[in-house]
Protein backbone atom coordinates (compact mmCIF):
# COMPACT_ATOMS: atom_id res chain seq x y z
CA UNK A 1 0.00 0.00 0.00
CA UNK A 2 2.98 2.25 0.38
CA UNK A 3 3.46 1.92 -3.34
CA UNK A 4 -0.06 3.23 -3.88
CA UNK A 5 0.64 6.06 -1.48
CA UNK A 6 3.81 6.87 -3.38
CA UNK A 7 1.94 7.05 -6.66
CA UNK A 8 -0.89 9.09 -5.18
CA UNK A 9 1.43 11.65 -3.64
CA UNK A 10 3.22 12.13 -6.92
CA UNK A 11 -0.05 12.37 -8.80
CA UNK A 12 -1.21 15.01 -6.35
CA UNK A 13 1.81 17.17 -7.05
CA UNK A 14 1.45 16.58 -10.75
CA UNK A 15 -2.12 17.77 -10.60
CA UNK A 16 -1.03 20.80 -8.65
CA UNK A 17 1.44 21.73 -11.36
CA UNK A 18 -1.10 21.21 -14.13
CA UNK A 19 -3.88 23.16 -12.42
CA UNK A 20 -2.84 26.69 -13.48
CA UNK A 21 -2.91 25.62 -17.11
CA UNK A 22 -6.24 23.86 -16.88
CA UNK A 23 -8.16 26.33 -14.78
CA UNK A 24 -6.46 29.68 -15.10
CA UNK A 25 -5.21 29.55 -18.67
CA UNK A 26 -1.68 30.22 -17.49
CA UNK A 27 0.03 26.90 -18.07
CA UNK A 28 3.23 25.99 -16.34
CA UNK A 29 5.48 25.11 -19.28
CA UNK A 30 5.79 21.40 -19.97
CA UNK A 31 9.55 21.68 -19.73
CA UNK A 32 9.29 23.02 -16.18
CA UNK A 33 6.65 20.50 -15.16
CA UNK A 34 8.85 17.60 -16.19
CA UNK A 35 11.83 19.09 -14.36
CA UNK A 36 9.78 19.67 -11.24
CA UNK A 37 8.22 16.23 -11.34
CA UNK A 38 11.59 14.56 -11.70
CA UNK A 39 12.76 16.03 -8.42
CA UNK A 40 9.45 15.61 -6.68
CA UNK A 41 9.40 11.91 -7.49
CA UNK A 42 12.96 11.54 -6.23
CA UNK A 43 12.29 13.47 -3.04
CA UNK A 44 9.18 11.43 -2.26
CA UNK A 45 11.15 8.28 -2.97
CA UNK A 46 13.90 9.37 -0.61
CA UNK A 47 11.51 10.26 2.18
CA UNK A 48 9.75 6.92 1.87
CA UNK A 49 12.94 4.88 1.99
CA UNK A 50 14.64 6.31 5.05
CA UNK A 51 14.01 3.24 7.13
CA UNK A 52 14.45 -0.32 5.99
CA UNK A 53 10.85 -0.96 6.88
CA UNK A 54 9.68 1.85 4.67
CA UNK A 55 11.87 0.80 1.76
CA UNK A 56 10.69 -2.75 2.03
CA UNK A 57 7.06 -1.72 2.21
CA UNK A 58 7.49 0.39 -0.89
CA UNK A 59 9.25 -2.17 -2.98
CA UNK A 60 7.50 -5.27 -1.64
CA UNK A 61 4.71 -5.29 -4.24
CA UNK A 62 7.23 -4.93 -7.05
CA UNK A 63 9.52 -7.55 -5.60
CA UNK A 64 6.56 -9.87 -5.08
CA UNK A 65 5.59 -9.41 -8.66
CA UNK A 66 8.90 -10.78 -9.76
CA UNK A 67 9.44 -13.38 -7.09
CA UNK A 68 6.03 -14.72 -6.17
CA UNK A 69 5.07 -17.56 -8.50
CA UNK A 70 1.38 -17.11 -7.69
CA UNK A 71 1.48 -13.69 -9.35
CA UNK A 72 2.89 -14.98 -12.59
CA UNK A 73 -0.13 -13.90 -14.57
CA UNK A 74 -0.10 -10.32 -13.36
CA UNK A 75 3.65 -10.26 -13.83
CA UNK A 76 3.36 -11.36 -17.41
CA UNK A 77 0.73 -8.76 -18.08
CA UNK A 78 2.78 -6.01 -16.48
CA UNK A 79 5.91 -7.14 -18.25
CA UNK A 80 4.15 -6.82 -21.57
CA UNK A 81 2.44 -3.53 -20.83
CA UNK A 82 5.51 -1.69 -19.60
CA UNK A 83 7.64 -2.08 -22.75
CA UNK A 84 4.63 -1.24 -24.90
CA UNK A 85 3.98 1.93 -22.91
CA UNK A 86 7.66 2.87 -23.08
CA UNK A 87 7.69 2.32 -26.82
CA UNK A 88 4.50 4.32 -27.20
CA UNK A 89 5.92 7.25 -25.25
CA UNK A 90 9.02 7.24 -27.43
CA UNK A 91 6.83 6.99 -30.50
CA UNK A 92 4.81 10.00 -29.43
CA UNK A 93 7.96 11.95 -28.70
CA UNK A 94 9.64 11.18 -32.00
CA UNK A 95 6.51 11.83 -34.02
CA UNK A 96 5.84 15.15 -32.44
CA UNK A 97 7.28 16.67 -35.58
CA UNK A 98 4.65 19.30 -36.16
CA UNK A 99 5.38 21.25 -33.07
CA UNK A 100 7.56 24.00 -34.46
CA UNK A 101 11.04 24.21 -33.02
CA UNK A 102 11.01 25.49 -29.47
CA UNK A 103 12.37 28.95 -29.44
CA UNK A 104 14.35 30.42 -26.73
CA UNK A 105 14.73 34.02 -26.37
CA UNK A 106 16.39 35.45 -23.41
CA UNK A 107 14.36 38.55 -22.70
CA UNK A 108 17.27 40.51 -21.31
CA UNK A 109 20.40 39.25 -23.02
CA UNK A 110 23.84 40.58 -22.20
CA UNK A 111 24.43 43.92 -23.87
CA UNK A 112 27.62 44.79 -25.69
CA UNK A 113 30.12 47.00 -23.86
CA UNK A 114 29.98 49.66 -26.52
CA UNK A 115 27.25 50.76 -28.85
CA UNK A 116 27.93 52.79 -31.95
CA UNK A 117 25.05 55.00 -32.95
CA UNK A 118 24.43 58.52 -34.15
CA UNK A 119 28.06 58.72 -35.19
CA UNK A 120 29.20 58.27 -31.61
CA UNK A 121 30.30 55.45 -29.41
CA UNK A 122 28.34 54.91 -26.23
CA UNK A 123 29.87 53.04 -23.33
CA UNK A 124 26.88 51.22 -21.85
CA UNK A 125 28.55 50.81 -18.48
CA UNK A 126 28.63 54.54 -17.87
CA UNK A 127 25.88 55.77 -20.16
CA UNK A 128 23.13 57.67 -18.42
CA UNK A 129 19.94 59.35 -19.49
CA UNK A 130 21.00 63.01 -19.84
CA UNK A 131 17.53 64.14 -18.75
CA UNK A 132 17.21 61.93 -15.70
CA UNK A 133 18.89 64.40 -13.37
CA UNK A 134 16.13 66.92 -14.15
CA UNK A 135 13.71 64.77 -12.19
CA UNK A 136 15.14 66.38 -9.08
CA UNK A 137 16.65 69.58 -10.45
CA UNK A 138 13.79 70.82 -12.56
CA UNK A 139 10.52 68.95 -12.12
CA UNK A 140 8.63 71.29 -14.44
CA UNK A 141 11.10 70.91 -17.28
CA UNK A 142 11.20 67.20 -16.53
CA UNK A 143 7.47 66.68 -16.87
CA UNK A 144 7.56 68.61 -20.11
CA UNK A 145 10.22 66.20 -21.36
CA UNK A 146 8.12 63.25 -20.25
CA UNK A 147 5.20 64.69 -22.20
CA UNK A 148 7.40 65.03 -25.27
CA UNK A 149 8.53 61.46 -24.75
CA UNK A 150 4.88 60.47 -24.65
CA UNK A 151 4.30 62.10 -28.00
CA UNK A 152 7.22 60.18 -29.47
CA UNK A 153 5.75 57.02 -28.00
CA UNK A 154 2.27 57.58 -29.34
CA UNK A 155 3.59 58.39 -32.80
CA UNK A 156 5.96 55.43 -33.11
CA UNK A 157 5.55 52.74 -30.50
CA UNK A 158 1.87 52.60 -29.64
CA UNK A 159 0.93 50.38 -32.59
CA UNK A 160 2.70 47.41 -31.06
CA UNK A 161 3.40 48.21 -27.42
CA UNK A 162 -0.08 49.56 -26.90
CA UNK A 163 -1.67 52.62 -25.34
CA UNK A 164 -1.47 50.94 -21.95
CA UNK A 165 2.21 50.09 -22.49
CA UNK A 166 1.30 46.49 -21.86
CA UNK A 167 2.65 45.16 -25.14
CA UNK A 168 -0.86 44.73 -26.55
CA UNK A 169 -1.11 47.34 -29.23
CA UNK A 170 -3.42 47.27 -32.21
CA UNK A 171 -1.09 45.06 -34.28
CA UNK A 172 0.44 43.15 -31.39
CA UNK A 173 -1.30 39.88 -32.00
CA UNK A 174 0.13 39.71 -35.51
CA UNK A 175 3.60 39.63 -34.02
CA UNK A 176 5.40 36.64 -32.63
CA UNK A 177 6.65 36.90 -29.95
CA UNK A 178 4.25 39.48 -28.60
CA UNK A 179 5.78 42.90 -28.08
CA UNK A 180 7.46 43.50 -24.73
CA UNK A 181 5.22 45.00 -22.06
CA UNK A 182 6.62 47.89 -20.03
CA UNK A 183 4.02 47.68 -17.30
CA UNK A 184 4.70 45.31 -14.47
CA UNK A 185 7.94 45.13 -12.57
CA UNK A 186 9.78 42.53 -14.55
CA UNK A 187 10.82 44.24 -17.76
CA UNK A 188 12.15 47.77 -17.81
CA UNK A 189 12.09 47.89 -14.01
CA UNK A 190 14.91 45.36 -14.10
CA UNK A 191 16.99 47.33 -16.55
CA UNK A 192 19.19 50.34 -16.65
CA UNK A 193 18.24 53.15 -18.97
CA UNK A 194 21.42 52.59 -20.94
CA UNK A 195 20.21 49.08 -21.66
CA UNK A 196 16.81 50.30 -22.83
CA UNK A 197 18.59 52.88 -24.98
CA UNK A 198 20.54 50.10 -26.66
CA UNK A 199 17.40 48.06 -27.26
CA UNK A 200 15.51 50.97 -28.77
CA UNK A 201 18.36 52.22 -30.93
CA UNK A 202 19.51 48.87 -32.25
CA UNK A 203 16.25 46.91 -32.09
CA UNK A 204 15.90 43.24 -32.89
CA UNK A 205 18.69 43.16 -35.46
CA UNK A 206 21.11 44.41 -32.80
CA UNK A 207 20.43 41.57 -30.40
CA UNK A 208 23.21 39.09 -29.67
CA UNK A 209 22.67 35.48 -30.61
CA UNK A 210 21.13 34.32 -27.35
CA UNK A 211 18.63 37.16 -27.57
CA UNK A 212 17.24 35.56 -30.72
CA UNK A 213 17.65 38.52 -33.07
CA UNK A 214 15.50 36.78 -35.65
CA UNK A 215 12.66 36.27 -33.20
CA UNK A 216 12.23 39.97 -32.55
CA UNK A 217 10.09 42.29 -34.63
CA UNK A 218 11.51 45.38 -32.96
CA UNK A 219 13.03 47.58 -35.63
CA UNK A 220 16.18 49.56 -35.14
CA UNK A 221 15.05 53.10 -34.40
CA UNK A 222 18.40 54.70 -35.03
CA UNK A 223 17.34 55.95 -38.46
CA UNK A 224 13.94 57.29 -37.50
CA UNK A 225 14.33 58.72 -34.00
CA UNK A 226 16.95 61.17 -32.79
CA UNK A 227 19.09 60.45 -29.77
CA UNK A 228 17.12 63.03 -27.75
CA UNK A 229 13.81 61.47 -28.76
CA UNK A 230 15.00 58.07 -27.63
CA UNK A 231 16.00 59.41 -24.23
CA UNK A 232 12.69 61.20 -23.88
CA UNK A 233 10.64 58.18 -24.80
CA UNK A 234 12.60 56.19 -22.21
CA UNK A 235 11.69 58.82 -19.61
CA UNK A 236 8.07 58.41 -20.63
CA UNK A 237 7.84 54.64 -20.47
CA UNK A 238 9.27 54.62 -16.96
CA UNK A 239 7.08 57.47 -15.86
CA UNK A 240 3.83 56.09 -17.30
CA UNK A 241 4.29 52.65 -15.77
CA UNK A 242 5.52 53.95 -12.45
CA UNK A 243 8.80 52.11 -12.73
CA UNK A 244 12.23 53.38 -11.87
CA UNK A 245 15.27 52.44 -13.88
CA UNK A 246 17.70 50.07 -12.31
CA UNK A 247 20.94 51.55 -11.21
CA UNK A 248 24.18 49.89 -10.29
CA UNK A 249 25.14 52.54 -7.81
Amino acid sequence: MRLLKFILINLFFFGLLKAPGLFLGKPIPASIVSMYMFFIVITVLLVMTITDKGAKGLFAPIAALVEDPSKALIRNIVFVIVPVVAAFVVYMQSNDAFAPPVELRSAHPAPPAMVKAYGKTFDLATLENPYRRLAKEGPVAFSALVREGGEVYFKNCVFCHGPKLDGRGHYANALDPLPMPFSGNDTIAQLQESYVFWRVVKGGPGLPREGGPSISSMPSWEASLTEEEVWKVILFIYDYTGNTPRSWK
Binding site: S31, M35, V102, L104, P208, R209, E210
Partner: protein, 175 residues
Protein backbone atom coordinates in the same frame (compact mmCIF):
# COMPACT_ATOMS: atom_id res chain seq x y z
CA UNK B 1 33.11 -7.21 -7.48
CA UNK B 2 29.36 -7.09 -7.47
CA UNK B 3 29.48 -4.08 -5.21
CA UNK B 4 32.06 -2.42 -7.38
CA UNK B 5 29.88 -2.85 -10.45
CA UNK B 6 26.87 -1.45 -8.64
CA UNK B 7 28.79 1.58 -7.44
CA UNK B 8 30.29 2.15 -10.88
CA UNK B 9 26.90 1.82 -12.52
CA UNK B 10 25.42 4.25 -10.02
CA UNK B 11 28.18 6.79 -10.59
CA UNK B 12 27.88 6.48 -14.33
CA UNK B 13 24.12 6.90 -14.07
CA UNK B 14 24.56 10.10 -12.06
CA UNK B 15 27.07 11.49 -14.54
CA UNK B 16 24.80 10.41 -17.35
CA UNK B 17 21.85 12.23 -15.82
CA UNK B 18 23.80 15.44 -15.42
CA UNK B 19 25.00 15.17 -18.99
CA UNK B 20 21.52 14.43 -20.25
CA UNK B 21 20.16 17.41 -18.39
CA UNK B 22 22.82 19.79 -19.65
CA UNK B 23 22.79 18.57 -23.21
CA UNK B 24 19.15 17.82 -23.92
CA UNK B 25 16.96 19.40 -21.32
CA UNK B 26 18.29 22.92 -21.09
CA UNK B 27 18.01 24.80 -24.33
CA UNK B 28 20.99 24.69 -26.64
CA UNK B 29 22.51 28.13 -26.82
CA UNK B 30 25.63 28.60 -28.81
CA UNK B 31 27.71 31.47 -27.56
CA UNK B 32 28.65 34.20 -29.95
CA UNK B 33 31.42 33.22 -32.33
CA UNK B 34 34.62 35.24 -31.98
CA UNK B 35 34.49 38.34 -34.11
CA UNK B 36 35.60 37.33 -37.54
CA UNK B 37 37.13 39.69 -40.00
CA UNK B 38 34.26 40.72 -42.14
CA UNK B 39 34.66 39.95 -45.79
CA UNK B 40 35.24 43.47 -46.97
CA UNK B 41 33.79 44.41 -50.24
CA UNK B 42 36.25 46.17 -52.43
CA UNK B 43 35.63 49.86 -51.77
CA UNK B 44 34.26 51.59 -54.82
CA UNK B 45 34.59 55.22 -53.84
CA UNK B 46 37.15 57.28 -51.99
CA UNK B 47 34.71 57.79 -49.15
CA UNK B 48 34.25 54.07 -48.72
CA UNK B 49 38.00 53.64 -48.75
CA UNK B 50 38.39 56.21 -45.98
CA UNK B 51 35.59 54.58 -44.05
CA UNK B 52 37.27 51.19 -44.35
CA UNK B 53 40.54 52.80 -43.30
CA UNK B 54 38.96 54.16 -40.15
CA UNK B 55 37.54 50.81 -39.16
CA UNK B 56 40.84 49.06 -39.80
CA UNK B 57 42.71 51.77 -37.92
CA UNK B 58 40.55 51.30 -34.84
CA UNK B 59 39.84 47.62 -35.23
CA UNK B 60 41.84 45.01 -37.02
CA UNK B 61 44.96 47.11 -37.44
CA UNK B 62 44.98 48.00 -33.74
CA UNK B 63 46.77 51.23 -34.67
CA UNK B 64 44.86 53.23 -32.09
CA UNK B 65 46.26 51.09 -29.28
CA UNK B 66 49.64 52.79 -29.52
CA UNK B 67 49.13 55.91 -31.61
CA UNK B 68 47.28 57.83 -28.94
CA UNK B 69 48.33 60.47 -26.51
CA UNK B 70 47.25 58.24 -23.64
CA UNK B 71 49.42 55.31 -24.60
CA UNK B 72 52.32 57.56 -25.56
CA UNK B 73 54.23 54.77 -27.17
CA UNK B 74 54.03 55.97 -30.73
CA UNK B 75 53.82 59.30 -32.52
CA UNK B 76 50.43 60.85 -33.06
CA UNK B 77 49.18 60.65 -36.60
CA UNK B 78 46.76 63.55 -36.84
CA UNK B 79 49.02 65.34 -39.31
CA UNK B 80 50.95 62.33 -40.58
CA UNK B 81 50.15 62.89 -44.24
CA UNK B 82 51.29 66.52 -44.01
CA UNK B 83 54.54 65.75 -42.22
CA UNK B 84 55.26 62.85 -44.56
CA UNK B 85 56.36 65.19 -47.35
CA UNK B 86 59.04 66.72 -45.10
CA UNK B 87 60.20 63.43 -43.65
CA UNK B 88 61.60 62.05 -46.87
CA UNK B 89 63.99 65.01 -46.99
CA UNK B 90 65.31 64.55 -43.46
CA UNK B 91 68.84 63.23 -42.92
CA UNK B 92 67.74 60.32 -40.74
CA UNK B 93 65.54 58.90 -43.48
CA UNK B 94 66.78 55.57 -44.77
CA UNK B 95 63.97 54.57 -47.07
CA UNK B 96 63.47 55.21 -50.73
CA UNK B 97 60.08 56.83 -51.03
CA UNK B 98 59.90 59.85 -53.23
CA UNK B 99 56.62 61.38 -52.17
CA UNK B 100 54.35 61.62 -49.17
CA UNK B 101 52.04 58.79 -50.10
CA UNK B 102 54.95 56.44 -50.67
CA UNK B 103 56.38 57.44 -47.33
CA UNK B 104 53.18 56.52 -45.56
CA UNK B 105 53.12 53.17 -47.29
CA UNK B 106 56.71 52.58 -46.30
CA UNK B 107 56.03 53.49 -42.67
CA UNK B 108 53.46 50.75 -42.56
CA UNK B 109 55.48 47.96 -44.13
CA UNK B 110 58.98 49.01 -43.09
CA UNK B 111 58.59 51.13 -39.97
CA UNK B 112 62.31 51.36 -39.29
CA UNK B 113 62.90 53.37 -42.44
CA UNK B 114 62.40 56.44 -40.33
CA UNK B 115 62.13 56.41 -36.57
CA UNK B 116 60.67 59.49 -34.95
CA UNK B 117 63.16 60.57 -32.27
CA UNK B 118 62.14 59.26 -28.89
CA UNK B 119 59.98 56.47 -30.26
CA UNK B 120 62.60 53.85 -31.12
CA UNK B 121 62.66 50.40 -29.61
CA UNK B 122 64.38 50.40 -26.24
CA UNK B 123 68.15 50.10 -26.55
CA UNK B 124 68.22 50.79 -30.28
CA UNK B 125 69.03 54.49 -30.02
CA UNK B 126 66.06 55.31 -32.22
CA UNK B 127 67.42 53.19 -35.03
CA UNK B 128 64.81 50.43 -34.89
CA UNK B 129 61.09 50.98 -34.68
CA UNK B 130 59.09 48.89 -32.19
CA UNK B 131 56.24 48.81 -34.68
CA UNK B 132 55.69 45.56 -36.59
CA UNK B 133 55.25 45.29 -40.32
CA UNK B 134 51.49 45.53 -40.69
CA UNK B 135 51.54 42.75 -43.25
CA UNK B 136 53.07 40.40 -40.71
CA UNK B 137 51.20 37.69 -38.94
CA UNK B 138 50.49 39.72 -35.84
CA UNK B 139 48.33 42.24 -37.69
CA UNK B 140 48.01 40.83 -41.16
CA UNK B 141 46.62 43.65 -43.26
CA UNK B 142 46.18 43.15 -46.97
CA UNK B 143 47.04 45.72 -49.63
CA UNK B 144 43.52 47.12 -49.80
CA UNK B 145 43.49 47.65 -46.07
CA UNK B 146 46.91 49.32 -46.18
CA UNK B 147 45.73 51.66 -48.90
CA UNK B 148 42.58 52.31 -46.89
CA UNK B 149 44.70 53.28 -43.89
CA UNK B 150 46.76 55.68 -46.01
CA UNK B 151 43.54 57.20 -47.35
CA UNK B 152 42.23 57.53 -43.82
CA UNK B 153 45.45 59.20 -42.63
CA UNK B 154 45.28 61.60 -45.53
CA UNK B 155 41.70 62.43 -44.74
CA UNK B 156 42.34 63.15 -41.06
CA UNK B 157 45.40 65.21 -41.94
CA UNK B 158 43.21 67.36 -44.10
CA UNK B 159 45.11 66.79 -47.33
CA UNK B 160 43.61 65.57 -50.53
CA UNK B 161 43.15 61.80 -50.64
CA UNK B 162 45.41 60.69 -53.46
CA UNK B 163 44.72 57.00 -53.17
CA UNK B 164 42.39 55.64 -55.79
CA UNK B 165 39.73 53.22 -54.57
CA UNK B 166 40.97 50.37 -56.71
CA UNK B 167 44.70 49.90 -57.26
CA UNK B 168 45.66 51.72 -60.44
CA UNK B 169 48.47 50.78 -62.74
CA UNK B 170 50.51 53.55 -61.22
CA UNK B 171 50.25 52.33 -57.65
CA UNK B 172 50.83 48.78 -58.74
CA UNK B 173 54.03 49.82 -60.52
CA UNK B 174 55.18 51.54 -57.35
CA UNK B 175 54.73 48.45 -55.32
Amino acid sequence: MNNFLKVAAFSLAVIGLYTFYSVWVIPPINPEAPPKEAVVEEPATVDELVELGESVYNGKGACSLCHTAAAGRAPLLERAAVIAGQRIKEPGYKGNATHAEGYLYESLVNPSAYVVPGFGASGSADKVSPMPDVRGSSIGLNETEIRAIIAYLQSISGVEVTIAPAPTEETKAKE
